[in-house]
Each structure stands twice: as C-alpha cells, then as structure tokens.
Symmetry: D2
Subunit: 333 residues, 4 copies
C-alpha cells in the first residue's frame, strides 16, 4: 500500500514513521513525493484502513500492481542509475557495444576503440556464454572478465558482461560495472535473489517468451532482495516469423515505461538476428523512446565466434551511432 503523508511532515517525523513501520515488520520505500510505499506481501493480511490512523498519514492508497518496488505507481519519476560518470535512464542515450563473445585482447581493444570514438559509454563482451549446445564455445570465463575490465577501463568505458550462475556473481562484481542476466535466466529466481545482495547494476534481459509483467516481476525479485539498480532490456521474442531470429517487440519500450520507473533499453542485435536489420531497428528503438541500445559488433563480423549473422561491422556501427543520435535529437524538437 502507499501512504500519502500530511503536507508539511518534516524529515524527522517521516523517519519516525518509517522506523515504526519497519519495527512492525514492513519494508518501506520512500517514493518521490510525500509518499511512502509499504511493501511485503502483507496487503492481503492487514487492514489497510488502520494505517490511516498512524501519525502524519493523510491517506492510504492501494498499490495495485503486483510488482511494487518496480512500479511507476510507487515512484512516478524515472530512476536514473549512475555508474561512474554515466547516467542511465535520463536524457542521454546509453550505448553499449562490443563483441558477442570475448575472443582476444586484440579483438576487444579494437571494439573499445571504435565504441569510444563513436560515443558509446559501455563495452560489452561475453565471458560466460549460454549456448544451446554443450559442444559450442562456452566462453573464456574469468580471464574474459579480467580482460574486459582492463580494456574497458583503459578506454574510459563501462564493462558489461553476463553471468549465468550465482557462483559467478562475486568474481563478476569485482570486474564488471554492469552485470547482464540473459533471456534464458530471466526467471532463474535463485540467481535473481543473489543479485539482490550486491549493488552492481543489473541489465536484465526479457525472456524470449516472457510477458512485460513477468519481466517486471523478475526485476522485483532483485529489488526486493536489496538491489534497486535494474536496467530492463527488450531483446526480441519468439513469434511465428522465421525470416528473423527473433521479433524485436518495440511496443515493450513505451509500455514498460508506463509501468515502471526503471531504465528500458533495446537490443536490436538479438532482437532481429539479421545483420542488415540492426541499424534500422536501433533507430526505431530510440524513436520509440528507449533509454539506450545494446549492439554486437566485431572487427570481422563473419569470423565472429558466435552470433555472426547478427554482428555488425565497425563501419556500420559508426553509421548507427550517428543515426541514433540524430533520432534522439529529433525527439527533442
């Protein structure tokens, strides 16, 4: 439920109220305005009206969404996640670029150089790769994490990579600025709960057949466990179309932004699975209002060890970066 405080309630009185609620066993989140969100699965067990008798409470409002901490109802203003000097979720477009898999220092250096030169703020690269087949390249593991941390830092970029299991979180948090959770693990609740115990921002990708609601509930798992820094990422869903690998669902961008205050970005590389579609769909994502985009590029796309079909060249990335900025500027006219 949401508690609207009386006008003029001062900082101290607010803290006293929060303490009291927490002593009663509730989790309390301060919302933008003079509103406290009281969380904890208690909605069906307590008489919400009784809360109106607490000091300084003007009104008790129901919290109607199942996701509470992630809901825009709880926090009307956009959440801006600050990582080093980068602000994610605000006016500046957040661009993550890099190879699908980390293959070598040379490959990663080349990508970092191009990423930085074209205005990207983050370098991505897979160290642990979720592969459909156990016979395919599974990633460089920890040495990949070390490499991306070093190369990203050298070029003034944030390091972004995926973890697939709770056992990888500790080491990943040491090396990465943002930890990615892939589509296949979106409902790996044990992993989500562990991510809630650190503060490193989590880039949470939508499962390829997950609804918006389920994506938000997955974010809620992380937030409820203690980590408020969740970035949502639309990366395409399975549909009846076979020309593309996935169907990038851009409806998700404005729809999620209605439902949540968290940053929402798009991945047109996985979202299409087709190299020639990455650039136009990156533009479309930004036009739909995405706070950022994530794209896969490679010095020699055809030789990419994974996802070659959807990986773009450096030249295409330079075009893409320029065009998405033009679109972003057009939104301000």
């Amino acid at each position: 439920m949401l508690l609207e405080l009386k006008e003029g309630t001062n900082y101290l009185d607010k803290q006293i109220l929060i303490d009291r609620l927490e002593n009663m066993g509730f989790r309390v989140v301060e919302s933008d305005a003079n509103i406290l969100a009281v969380i904890g699965g208690v909605d069906s067990l307590v008489v919400t009206e009784a809360f109106s008798e607490l000091p300084n409470v003007a009104r008790v409002l129901p919290l109607t969404s199942n996701f509470k901490l992630a809901s825009r109802q709880t926090k009307p203003s956009n959440t801006i996640i600050k990582v080093k000097d980068v602000a994610i979720g605000g006016e500046e477009l957040f661009i993550i670029a890099g190879p699908c898999s980390i293959e070598s220092r040379e490959q990663l250096e080349a990508c970092a150089l191009v990423a930085k030169a074209n205005g990207a703020q983050a370098l991505r690269g897979g160290a642990y790769k979720p592969r459909t087949s156990p016979y395919e390249f599974q990633g460089l593991g920890v040495s990949g994490l070390e490499l991306i941390a070093e190369v990203a830092s050298k070029h003034g970029l944030l390091a972004v990579s995926e973890v697939m299991d709770a056992s990888q979180i500790e080491i990943a948090a040491k090396y990465l600025d943002i930890i990615q959770i892939g589509a296949r693990n979106m409902q790996n609740y044990a992993l989500l709960t562990e991510l809630g115990k650190i503060k490193t921002p989590v880039l949470l990708k939508r499962g390829f057949a997950a609804t918006y609601h389920e994506l938000l509930m997955a974010a809620e798992y992380i937030m409820l466990a203690g980590n408020p820094n969740v970035i949502l990422c639309e990366r395409g869903i399975r549909s009846i179309e076979t020309y593309t690998r996935n169907t990038l669902d851009l409806n998700a961008i404005p729809a999620l932004q209605e439902l949540t205050h968290l940053p929402v970005i798009a991945d047109p590389s996985h979202g299409t699975g087709v190299r020639s579609l990455v650039l136009p769909m990156a533009r479309a994502a930004v036009a739909a209002g995405a706070h950022g985009i994530l794209v896969e590029m490679h010095p020699d796309p055809d030789k990419s060890i994974s996802d070659a079909k959807q990986t773009i060249s450096f030249a295409t990335f330079a075009d893409l970066a320029k065009q998405v900025k033009n679109i972003k500027n057009a939104l301000l006219l």
Copy 2:
C-alpha cells in the same frame, strides 16, 4: 527466371523478344535495368539454359524467390504508386488517418479537417467492418463509401476503406482511391484474385499470424492477376504478450524492404491496440524506414463505435504528425 539483355539492345529488339516470349506462353515483366523477368510457374518445366540462345540475351539468371512479381530481385528499384497527386513509396511520408468506423458525416468531416491540417494525404474510415461477433456494428456499407468519397474529395484527401468480399469490389472501386484488405482476409485468395482485375491500389494488411513470405505471396496473387499497385501494411501480430492487443513487428519494415520493391507502411493503432502507445510506435515505424503510417483517430475517442481503446484524439494526432515528420527529417541528415 531473369533474362539479362546484351548491352546495347535497343527498344525494338527488346519488344521483339518480349513478343516472342509471350507467344511462347510466358508472362514477361520489364525490370529496371536491362533485365526481363519471365514469370509463369514454368520454372520447373522448361530448360532455362535454352533461353540463353534467344537473340539479345546475355545471361539467364534464376529467380530465387517464390514471389516473383513482388520480388526486389525482379525489380531492384522502389515502386512508387501515384494516386492523384500523391506518390506512395518515395521520399515523402504517406499518412492515412481517420476513424475506425464511419459513423456520420459530422464525424468524418471533423477527421478530414484535422487530417488535412496536419499534413495527412488520405482519409480512412470503415464502411464494411470485419467484426469478430455478428452482433456488433457491421458498418454503414455503401452509404459509408459514398460519404468517405465525398468528404475526402472535398478536403483534397484520398479515400481509403476496406472491402471484405469480391461482391463489394465494383462499388468500392467507384468510390475509393485505395482499397484496403484486412488482416483476416489476407489469404482470401478469391478476393485477392478479383482485386487483380482492377487497377485501384490495394492496401494489403499482414495477417495477424502470417509470415513475411505469406504476405508477399498474397501480394503476388493480386499482381499476377494484373494489378501491380499493392501497398503492404504491417499491423501487428499475435504474440504471448497480453498487455497490448497485438505486437507491432517493426522488423517487418526493413525486412520487407529487402525482399520487395513495393511500398511498406505501418499501422500503430491496430499494432498496439493501446492508445498511449500509438504515438511512440508511429515514430518508431518511421525511424525503421516505413513509407507511411495509418492511424485511427476520432473527435471523441472514448465514444468511438469500434476500437475505442486504440483510437487517438485530434490533439494527439497533431503531435504525432509533427513528431513523425521530425523523425523522417532526421533520417535525411
């Protein structure tokens, strides 16, 4: 198959060759360059190599797509469909706006005024409505067609409306500038074949579970029957998401443009089914490269007799028209 003519083949020799092929029973389409496309289901029955012995033929190339007339292989340059003074498929953005159903002269007049004032070129409105339930409003029929023809003409707009059966084509062709075929009839082959017998441009909507290939084969039915003026329209597919009515698949825009020379537009109204998503998704469609958009608006959206949930107000339409033009301009930078 495609016949590449020898350099310097003159107009007369080309005509002689075309006549000869047609006398052999083939359908011949002149492609942009010095290329003739030979069509007719004959590919598996004739020895294509033998055609290289015809006069002025330099090379015989296979026509690899199943859709032939609609294929960009057959005709590399974009088809621009001219209707009165409007060119569809070229540089200018084509905007169709109007109510879901034609309800009254007043309603339609109000829409036409707003459409024109904001730069739309066409007025839409349903006279025959495909309704899931036989108990729902089925449209005004012929009187609706008369009304939209009159109002559109008065305001210098093209008239666009849907037909659902071959028996409605003759009267529709009399009143309309563009005939729409709805998603449910995309594979109504009897209807498609009849539309091939007129020259009125056809706005062909993608079925809600049809692949790009099937949409192009449906266009092929119309083209093979004699009508080359087909405009394709992405209008959302069914997916596992339930927050939106449909999932507007913007991958379709650049993907179809790779496959075909026909104009490709998007319908963010049906494609989302949610009023608040129409504007951002219209922007996204244009950013993806759509040649135009189709949107439903109403003087009083909540009172719209059909599809009220996805119908936008005049004020929103004015914003939308301005914003999509800003996006279109950004594509030219």
Copy 3:
C-alpha cells in the same frame, strides 16, 4: 437472455410466447429443456427483468457467452447432425478420409474403396485449393466436385470438400454433403454469412492463430444467418515449434466441448504436417474426446500433388482406423 418456462407450459402456450417475442423483434431458439434463448444483440438495449412478466416465464437468466446460438448454455445437450444415414456428434466416431487434392477418378476411387473398407463414413478431396502461392496447383474446380460426388455416392460415403468463396457455394451445395471452410477463411465473414443461407452442414476449421472464442464466433455467424449445422474442426495452430508444420492443440477438443453443443473433430494431418505423427495424434484426438477425425491419405503418398509430407498410405490408414476404434471403445469401459 434465457427464459426458463414455468413447469407444465404446454406446446401451444410456448408457441404463443415465441410468436409474441418474434413479433417484438427478437430471434428465439428453443433449447433442450423448458428454456427459450432470446437472441439478437438486444441484451444491452432491453430491461431483461421485464421479460419475467411475460406469460409462462418462470425465470430470466443472463446468457453470458458472446456466442449465443453456439453456446452450450443455450443448448446443454450435444447437437447431433444427421447427414443421410450418418450421425455426427453422437457416440459413433465420424471418420473422414481422402486425398488432399482430387487428382483423378482413379485416385479418388482407390481412396473411397479403402475409406469404406476401414469404416470411414466420408470421403474428402480438395477441388478448390487455397494455396499460398498462385503458381501452385489450384484444384480441378467444378469437375472435381462432380467427381467426388459421384465416387462418394457410389461407395456409400458422404462427399466433403472445401469452398473458398461465396460464388462457389451454390454449385458446391449441389454436389457435396458437407462443405468445408478452411483455416484461412475462418474469419471471412461474407462467406460465413452466405453459408448460413443454406442447410448443408459446414465443417468449419479453426484458423491457425484463432482462439476458441473466435472459432465459436465464426460458427455463430453461420448459425445466426440460419444454418445450425456446424461441425468444428481443430487443425493445428502456429507455435514456436518448427519440427512440425503446426501444433495440433488437443486442449481444444475438451475445451470446445465445454463451451458448445456442436460436434468437434480433429485433423491430425494438417495438425502435425508430419506423416509419422498422424497415427499417434489421431489416437490422441479420439482419447481427448473428439467426435471424429479427418485424415489425408493417398494411393502413393510421395506423389501427392499437395501436402505429400503429411499424407499417409492406405496401409497406415487401415492401422489408424483400427487403432482409433480401439481407443474409442476404451473410452466406454
């Protein structure tokens, strides 16, 4: 709404009441028990309570489903459609078998012989073929209808074939015992309405992305237009699976039987698109409670002019017919 009549209301009083309601502009359907269903889109316009004051009306009950004539609420007992000496929808399993396309008298004769010998009651074969490509075989047309009528009659089988357009109904009704509407035309409302004007039973196939509700609304179009003889057919939906052509949704069998009194059959040939799966899925359909099955067979399946991949041999059909009867018998234990 449903009117429950007072106990002991006699035939004459009931007729008087029906006449009175019809004179008021309503459509009235007699339900099994002492119940009249009052249909006609009037539910939102009339005060239903007022009907309780009519003579012999004991109670007024709401009709909660959107499909009214097709609803089991309106008619609790199963509808059994009698065609010649065959009863469809009752205890006896209804088996339709034959080639995808009618190719020749020899082919059809061979199929009829095998169908009859193995206990099938109906012979199917396509005369008008809905093909994705205009370059593919489109069927023999009227001469195909003549052929199937003659061959079916000779072997004591019902003739079943598809129509694709209202213009084909008159001739089809002359030759066929059951008219099939294919998945692509399930929401061709003009066609459905025309089928309502005849009495020939209609085999209505579920669209490949249609919900149960939409299938029942399509049946409602036919029934409301005057033809109560509708047989529903589950034939597979599109899903993310690509190993099969379609995903036969057997949930549909018991689910539809909850919702409607109409007969429900299954087509494991289109529902799988894979020859080896037809037999086990035919068994499964019957075990799920289907009133019948429709299967495609051919004297030489690999040479079938259409749908060869899903067409079974005569030997497999003989096995299938035996096995589905064993399953049907097991349901009675």
Copy 4:
C-alpha cells in the same frame, strides 16, 4: 560420428578399440547394435574417414543430429530408467501424482495413500517453488524434502521434487528418487551441468517456449556431464490461446520419441491449467504414446496453496488412473 564394427568383433577387441579412442581424447558411447558413438565436438576437427582404418571398424557413419548422446541415432532402442523397482520408459505406464506444493504432512499423506491405491508409482510435491512473484509462497525448502522422502518411502512410492539452483542439488539427491527441473530452468546450463555430476534421474521439463531441439540439447548438457538418466516432460507451451493457461503440445510425444531414446512423459496439469481438461488430456497423452504422466492433485483442490485452478480432486484422480490404464491397454490390441 558412429563407428559400425565389423561382424564378429568380440568383446575384447571392442574394449581395445574403445580404449584407443579414449586415449585419443574422444568420448565413446556403446550403442545397441555393433555401433560405437564417438562424441566430443570433434566432428569438425578430425577427418572422419581416417577412422575407417582403425581395427574392426567396418564403416564410419555421420552423426547428423546436434544432440548426440540423446539421439535415437546413437542408441536406437528405448532407454529404460530403473529407479528402485520402477522401470520408466518401458511398457508400464509411469504415473506421478501429488500436490503442487508440499503444505503439510497430513496433505502429503493423504495424497500418497490415494496415489498408491490407484497405481501411481511416484509422489510429487514442490519444496522449492519457482514463483513469478517474490511475494508468493516459496515452498517449505529442506523440511519439505525430508517430508516427501519420508512419506513416499512409507507408501512404497518414489519421491519427486524440483530443484531451482545448483546449491540445492546435494541435499535434494539425498532425499529424492527423481529430481525435477522446471520449465523456467530448462536452459539454466550451470544447473544442468551440475545435475550431470550425480546419477539421480532428472525429470526435465520443456521450457514454455522451447523447441524439441532445445529440449534435447538441454538433456545433452546433463548427459554429456555424466548423467544418462534423463526423463523428458512435455508440459505445455505458450500460444495465442487464452482459455487455457498453456497449450499441451502432444505432437511432442511421438516427435520426441522419433528423435530420442529417452523416456517421454506429459504433464496435463500445467499443460492445460484448467481442472476440467486434465483428465481428457491425460488420456490423450497416453494415446499419443507417452511413457507416463504427471498430475497435480490435492485433498481439497480449491484450497491448494498454488495452482489451485489446475489441481484435481482424489475422486477425479481415481477416474483418471483407471481411464489412462484403459487407454494404455487399448494400445496393445
């Protein structure tokens, strides 16, 4: 690749060949017949023809599926998994029944009694529950595992329950006869690999948008890591239908049996999500050839703490058990 041995190759020569191959770094699996499967991601790196020169090798055959250990090509005969006195994958129908969540000893005892009395061989019950919302009941954890182990053992039933994270495997393997992996974790590769390190049979549920191929690749992860005891379970996929919670895809039963030698069972409870559909779909699954079924039941279904809508009563379960056995017997006629 597959090595077909020369006729008459004796046991010793075969072992010498296997040792030699293993010393070369390959993994070797003995297939039914005189065939060795050589596994290990080596296919693209070695010249397969060279293997024909090894002693006793008659022919080298390509292994065409991506899943190797799970492929029926590698092992043509059905795998029968023996757990205590139960054989899974053979002629006897394997029935798993029990509550969705373990709630109390009384509840579990009641279920065990009914399960045993009606011929089920295994008792299921969730101790760790994957819930979409973090605010919902998450299961009793280890004490739930202790309870089900004790109650199952007392009644001569196998204990089946789900784990969600690698950290739960050790304790689960101590208490359970079969470890279930849920649909959301089907592609949790870290978890699958850990399950490969134990020998407890794994009941692997198909992801709700996973293809057959992906399910088999997930099984391959477990098998390649060392655990050959994998039971596949179809439990419904997401489709456009909303009347049911999921669409039980029974095509999967015969299709998977073509592709793999592993046992394949079906879960009509999750596969429908609708109580009234569980019984007919259980029959259909057995008629399609399933080696077993898994159903959720509860002493008081409406009070079930989770999945109440799809949970059947004891009386319905008794009917179901009887009817599926009748169907199973009908398959032998």
